[in-house]
Amino acid sequence: MIAQSVLPPELWVSLGLTVRLAATVTALLLVIGTVLGYWFSTSKSRGILLAETLVNLPIVLPPTVIGFYLLTLFSPDQPIGRVWFKITGQTLTFNFSGLVVGSILYSLPYAVQPISAAFKSVRQAYVDAAISLGATPWRAFWRITVPLSWRGLIAGAILAFAHTLGEFGVVVMLGGSIPGKTRVASIALYDEVQRLDYVAANKFAGVLLGISFVMLLLLGWVQGRAARAE
């Protein structure tokens, strides 16, 4: 009942959906970001610049461009969309799973960059020493590199989470604003304004503002601790 006085039930559904999307995307991005971050921080190949540029593209790319490409790729008439439909019986477009894929691409650089930077800042001497003492590179990575980079990993996760919360363009193209499925917070706010429900829109915008502020505060705190630790 208290919850209802803060926000109407359909906005709670939107907020829950958004948190679920952001949490799923962040969990997956931690894995993907760790793999890519490790590759970027250790590879000496010249081609790495190309790969890094590709990963960083979403920072400058209009989200509608990502949305447009994915809408076309995921369409049930196209190979990827068709295979997905055969396996799951659902379309990738206008579905939660499609939003997960879109958001991973959209938030990728925000996870990879801090993780890769953290890995790069781990002194190579520590890793070398562990390996010279008989540790496998795999063990050295988990016992030396990751523990010394945890702030970077958390910063990557916070940024990925916060960035996914604020997503609009990709979801507009790919989502279709279906309650409980693809009507995420930013879209719900857009819809409330069009319905002229300024009271609900105001409350909702306030909640989103608060969440974003706390996320950034958390990020600043983690980074402050990282700076003091050095």
Binding site: T91, P147, D191, L196
Partner: protein, 281 residues
Amino acid sequence: MRESARGNVLAKKASRGLDRGMRPFASFVCLLIAGMGFFRVSSVHAEETVSVAAAADLVFCLDEIDAAFEKSHPGIKVQVTSGSSGNFFAQIQHGAPFDVFLSADVSYPRQLAETGLADKASLYTYAVGRIVLWTMKPEIDVKRGLAVLSDSAVHKVAVANPEHAPYGRAAKAALEHEKLWESLQPKIVLGENIAQTLQFVQSGNADAGLVALSLVLAPKLAGQGTYFEVPESFHPRLEQGAVLTKQGAAKAGAKAFLQYLASPEARPILDRYGFSLPSAK
């Protein structure tokens, strides 16, 4: 010897790092997993859910119709997504999971039926839409008709995007009919759909706009602003078509909803929102 002593120190340092480092990290990951699972409970679960893609001119009217429908059909939940008809047309072509499509014109649902994406037998005209010139500013006298838009007091005129909103096409046709479309170009701002167009005017950002009569008649806007009904002869008739999509044709709830829209229970609601009855065939 020296090497191994140094190695020991490093190993200790590293294991300390592990203890200190992994704890907050591990708790963070737990929190994430909780976030993924916990909020699942809040998603909607009804016995049968009918997903309706509705033209934005229906946004207020459908609130009433849905409530009445859900009351008389317990166990069926209606989920409405509103927007521009052209967008829905494109989305349904890309596989959007809507059961019912309530368009603001008849050509989008007809095209879907012709390409097999909608059930041809279910297509019917459920309403005829009307456009009005609407303003919130007392100094703009809309009773003078569309010509008032040329006044210097009118800086911005909101119109729905004619590319994909049928109401935008009607507005453009009416302005062309009055030979105003070209001269008004510097003043025209485009709403993504008719509800956003209304919002532009309601919020005072546009001085006047060509919007749907059904929106202006909504109780929410009662007594706000003044409007002028654009003569129907100024634009092609806004016949609005309803259709079951391919997936909706298999759902009893979707069929029931489409039938309900033409029923004696729903008709008076549509009439109250200014949707004149389509002429009997």
